[in-house]
Each structure stands twice: as C-alpha cells, then as structure tokens.
C-alpha cells in the first residue's frame, strides 16, 4: 500500500472527514505559502495542479489560473524547485494532464514527483485502460495513482477503477468540468455506488463551493475536494491569511456537523 493511502486510511480511521484543497502551482508568486496556509487551515491532503496548455477537464477559473501560471514560466521542474522550500507534513498530490508526464518521460516523472515530495497523482485524462505504464512507473516511486469515477460510470466499471485507484477514489459529484456550483450534485449517489465495490476512501469533488456544501457532502463520503472555489479566491488576490481562513471555514463546517 502506498504511503498516501496509509495516511488517508488513517484519517478515516480517526473518524475524520478529509478536506483536500486544490491549488494551481505558479498561479501566484506566493502559491507555496498558500499551500502551507491550507495545511494550517486544516487540510488533510493538498492537490498541486501542474498547469497544462489544454486543460480539458477544467472550467474557466482553473483555466485562468493555469494560464497565469504558464505565462509566469511555470514548469514541472520549477514547481519542484519551489516545493523544496515548503514547510508542511500534509501529503501533496499532483494533478495534471497526461501529456506533461508522457512528454517528460513516465518513469522520470514519477521519480521527480517523489523527489519533489509528492505522494500521489491525479491525471484526469488518463483512462484506466491506458494507465498500465504510468501505474508501473508510479509503483517504483511510491506515488499513488488516483482515479476518478463519475456519475456516468457503470457499476461494473466502478469496480475496475476502484481496484486500481490508490490513496482514495475521486468521486465526481457531477457531469461537469471543474467549477463552482450551487447544488449538491450527484456525489452521494456516486459514493454509494463506490461503497458497494470498494473500501477505498472516497472523496467527492467537482463543484464544492461553500462550507455548507462541503459539510453535507462529507456526511456521505470520506472527504471533500475543494478546487475552483479556492482558486477563485486566490485569483482575486487572497493573502496567505485569507487562504488559511478560507480552508478553515470548510474545516470547521465539516467538523461541526460531525462533532469530531
């Protein structure tokens, strides 16, 4: 079992709902400080988005952040360099598109992820069927490969995906790309389907925008992922302190509801 999964299973065993905020690396100069602030604010794991020119699964907010990062010269390596200065124990998970790793070399990428201190990777355009080589490479460097399931994924396929996913299973709450949304979506149903197939922790993401939504969703899952809502705040100029408070507001809402 990969370290990430060990850690995240422990979170669940401790009766804690996981909170996983998402950052676009390089979107602002002080993004590493934002990551630290999120850890202080109560994150259980943090997604580090590596920007890609063609982010097919992302809505406008994350597209915009990615564009800013690319225009600022952000690369896989520059992100790694900046991460060496990070001061946190919270596990970091890379999130990017497959071409970034493929072009860099799969084995080399997995090795660098590990050297950069990342312990997992989410690659939304890498389907299960095409993932063998990447999973092999990750296996050699203790990188957990995290897969998504969607409301459209049939039961049989959920089983297959869950069997390959490590760390947690990313349950998409809706048929949509990343972006804020006001309704609850289908997260509960997706989680219920996954539960029948797997005991892997299931985190719900895509469209979780408010602390209240997060709390409700956490109630039926093992954790929540907060992406666009947070990135939007950052694009609007949030300070390190703002980021910490933002994350804490989610933490508190989740924890209050479940009286940990």
């Amino acid at each position: 079992m990969k370290s990430l999964e060990v850690t995240l299973r422990a979170v669940r065993e401790n009766g804690r709902k996981a909170l996983v905020p998402y950052f676009v690396a390089g979107a602002t100069p002080d993004w590493v400080r934002h990551v630290e602030a999120a850890a202080l604010g109560g994150a259980d794991a943090i997604e580090i988005g590596i920007p890609f020119s063609d982010p097919m699964m992302d809505g406008v907010v994350i597209q915009e952040a990615g564009l800013r990062a690319l225009q600022a010269g952000t690369t896989f390596e520059s992100i790694g360099r900046q991460l060496t200065s990070i001061d946190t124990e919270v596990p970091l998970i890379a999130m990017t598109y497959y071409n970034i790793f493929l072009h860099y070399g799969l084995a080399r990428s997995a090795g660098r992820l590990h050297e950069f201190g990342l312990s997992g990777a989410i690659v939304p355009d890498l389907s299960l069927e095409e993932s063998d080589e990447w999973r092999t490479s990750c296996g050699e460097h203790d990188i957990a490969t995290i897969f998504l399931v969607a409301p459209s994924t049939p039961a049989e396929r959920i089983k297959e995906v869950a069997r390959r996913s490590e760390g947690f299973l990313y349950a998409s709450a809706r048929m949509a790309v990343t972006g804020a949304s006001s309704d609850q979506g289908d997260g509960a149903r997706v989680v219920a389907n996954v539960r029948e197939a797997s005991d892997l922790p299931v985190y719900v993401g895509i469209g979780i925008t408010t602390p209240e939504q997060a709390a409700t969703t956490a109630a039926v899952s093992d954790g929540v992922i907060v992406g666009s809502a947070l990135v939007k705040v950052i694009l609007n100029g949030a300070s390190v302190h703002d980021v910490e408070n933002f994350v804490r507001s989610f933490r508190d809402a989740i924890d209050t509801t479940f009286e940990v």
Partner: protein, 393 residues
C-alpha cells in the same frame, strides 16, 4: 460494402500501433464505449449502411466525380486526376463524416449534437446534417475564428445551430475542441459530440475514417473506369487527416504511394513528437515541457497542432509519407489550378497540389499517374487570398 475497412482496424482499445487509444475524463468513458458499440453495430447493419449511402447520394451528391486535369497534366508532365470533394454538399469532404455521425446520433436515440470548428467548414457541415435530421446543434468556435469567419457563423445560425465563441486558451480550433469536450461531459446522456476529423478518443479516429473511406472506394473504381488504373501516387492534404484517411482507404492495399501534405506551420509529422491531446495519443506540436503549441497556417483547416493517430502510425510504419509545404507555394498552386482547370481549390487542398508541383521530376517521376484529393472548394478562401495577393483588406 466489401471495401470498407481496407485500412487496418485499430485494436480493441483503439490503438493504431503506438498511437490512438482513449484518453478522456472518466465521465466520458461510458459515452465513448457506448459510441463504439453503436458504431460497430450500425456499421454491420445493412439498413444503416443503406441509410448512410442513400443520404450521401440523395443529399450530398455522391459519388463526386474524378476529374482528369488535362491542361495541368500537360504543364506538369503528369497524368493528374482530382477526386472532387469540392462538389459535395457544403463544399468539402467534411459532410461525409457528418452524415455518418448524425445518422448514428439518431440511432443512439440522442437528440442533440455538438461540434468544434476552426474556420467553420466542419461547423457548417454539422449544422447542415443536424438541420436535415432535426437535431439540436451547438458549435464551439474559437472567438478569434468567429470574428475572422463571421459569415460562417451566420451560416450555422441560418441552419439553426447555436454558435458558442470559445474564449479560453488561444481562442482557436484547439480550444474549441477542449470546450466541446467540456460541454460534452455535461450533456453526454442526450448529446453526441461530432468530431470533425480522424482524431479524438477511440472510436472517433477509426469511425471518422470509415465514414470518409467512401472517398477512396469511389475514387479507385472511378480511376479504373477512366482507364487510369492504379495511380502511382495518391496525394491529400492533412489537417487532422480525415480527407487523407478517406482517400487512402481506397488504395491502402494497392501499390500506390500515399502522400499526406501538411502545412509547414502545423506539420505534426515533420515537427511534432508523440503526445496525448484531445483524447488520443499521436504526434503533436509541443514545447520542451509538453505544452501544446499553436499551429500557424494561412489555411484554417490545417491549423491544428496534431494529426490523427492512424496517420502517426502510417508515418511510423512507412505505408504513407508526410511532407510539409509553405504558404507561398500554396498560393501559387491555388492560382495554378484555378487558371489551368477552372477549379478554385480550398487552401487546404492547394497544399497537396503545391507538393505535387514542387516534386515533379524530383520525388515524383515525370509521367506518373497522380490522384489529388480535391478536399474542398476555395470559395471560402477567396477573400483571404485576394487580400494576400493584392495586399488589400
């Protein structure tokens, strides 16, 4: 129908050698699987084939002729023939694929279709096919392109389609594909995404090639009828590669050399490297970090940083050869065909002819029989060429 499928089919996961596959968000996987199944089923169903063929003949005007080009042949010292996709309804080969996909959409019980478009050819074709079947239609088009091609936007609107300007990324074709994919995720239950070339996730590259293979199947029979026999070369321009794949399909099992011609500013074979984009593994223009680069061609239909995966495979295996030509050669070829034979070609097509005119006596032996795929008509390009040649706006 015996000829359909003469180019090798991909493996069950959609691989043509090292290329192809299915690199899409999990949310779209079921749709891709469903589509694959629906296509396999339809393509084996004589009633679907009949509907497809009937629509092509009654609505699109197929078969398009093969035209001997006597005056140009004499000028070049070749036996040159053109397969006239410019005469297909809406002015290019794009409609062949649209007819197939719209019929399949209806067969799958879906009521809406979305598409990406660059200059507008595929968008107009899709809006056309949708209008014919009464399907709702939304076309994604880079904002930059909606301004450059405002008449095509209006054409699509006339045909009842909604055109959505895409403001992300470079605001051109590549971003329109991204946006269409993003939209598709949200509506996959009732909506089909009609990709416009032999690209995207499996089964698109294969399916689109099959829907375009009618070009090559017809052409091979027509050349026989004309007494021209098997051509020495079959030459087509390559954007995503659908017209090339379609005509190659008729000659893959022959001795003909298969030539794909890309725009120098978008030459995925000459200047690209393996990568994953838009659901497929293929050859792509990308920088040292794996960021996709914008293609630059005066021809909007070739302005794509990738190439269909089957072409990457054909290039790899050596069965087809790919070359690039630059804008000036293309303008010369555009004028040459117009004044020699009375056919104003699409700028895309002019790339293929430019390669031919350049290579006569070099890569093409004099006297060779050459089949040019005349993928589209040049009406859409006349304003742009006028500006380029006259320096006016």
């Amino acid at each position: 129908m015996s000829n359909i499928g003469v180019m090798g089919d991909p493996d069950e996961r959609g691989h043509f050698g090292d290329f192809g596959g299915r690199f899409v968000p999990e949310a779209l996987m079921p749709a891709c699987l469903e589509l694959e199944e629906a296509f396999r089923d339809a393509w084996a169903d004589p009633s679907f084939i009949n509907e497809y063929r009937t629509t092509l003949s009654q609505f699109v005007g197929r078969p398009t002729p093969v035209t001997p080009l006597p005056r140009l042949s004499e000028k070049l010292g070749l036996r040159l023939y053109a397969k006239r996709e410019d005469l297909a309804h809406t002015g290019s080969h794009k409609i062949n694929n649209v007819v197939g996909q719209t019929l399949l959409t209806r067969r799958m019980g879906k009521t809406r279709i979305i598409a990406e478009t660059g200059a507008g050819q595929h968008g107009v074709a899709t809006a056309t096919g949708a209008a014919r079947l009464g399907l709702a239609c939304t076309v994604f088009m880079g904002e930059v392109d909606t301004v450059r091609q405002e008449l095509n936007v209006f054409r699509m609107e006339l045909l009842g389609a909604r055109v959505v300007p895409v403001t992300s990324g470079s605001r051109t074709l590549k971003d329109a594909v991204n946006e269409a994919m993003r939209e598709w995720v949200t509506c996959v239950a009732d909506t089909h995404y009609c990709i416009g070339s032999v690209m995207g996730p499996h089964p698109f590259p294969w399916m689109v090639r099959e829907f375009q293979s009618i070009i090559g199947i017809e052409a091979a029979a027509q050349l026989e009828e004309l007494g021209a026999g098997t051509p020495d070369l079959v030459v087509a321009c390559v954007g995503g590669g659908s017209n090339a794949a379609g005509i190659f399909a008729g000659f893959a099992n022959s001795d003909a050399r298969l030539i794909g011609v890309e725009a120098a500013g978008g030459a995925a074979v000459a200047s690209g490297s393996p990568g994953v984009l838009h659901g497929m593994r293929s050859l792509l223009l990308q920088d040292e970090f794996g960021q996709i680069e914008e293609a630059h061609s005066m021809s909007a239909g070739l302005d794509y940083p990738g190439i269909g995966p089957e072409h990457a495979y054909l290039a790899d295996s050596g069965r087809a050869e790919y070359f690039a030509v630059g804008d000036e050669e293309v303008l010369d070829a555009f004028s040459l065909l117009s004044e020699s034979e009375g056919i104003i070609p699409a700028l895309e097509t002019a790339h293929a002819l430019a390669w031919i005119t350049r290579e006569v006596g070099a890569l093409i032996p004099r006297g060779a029989t050459v089949l040019l795929n005349l993928s589209g008509r040049g009406d859409k390009d006349v304003a742009q060429v006028r500006q380029l040649l006259k320096g006016e706006s």
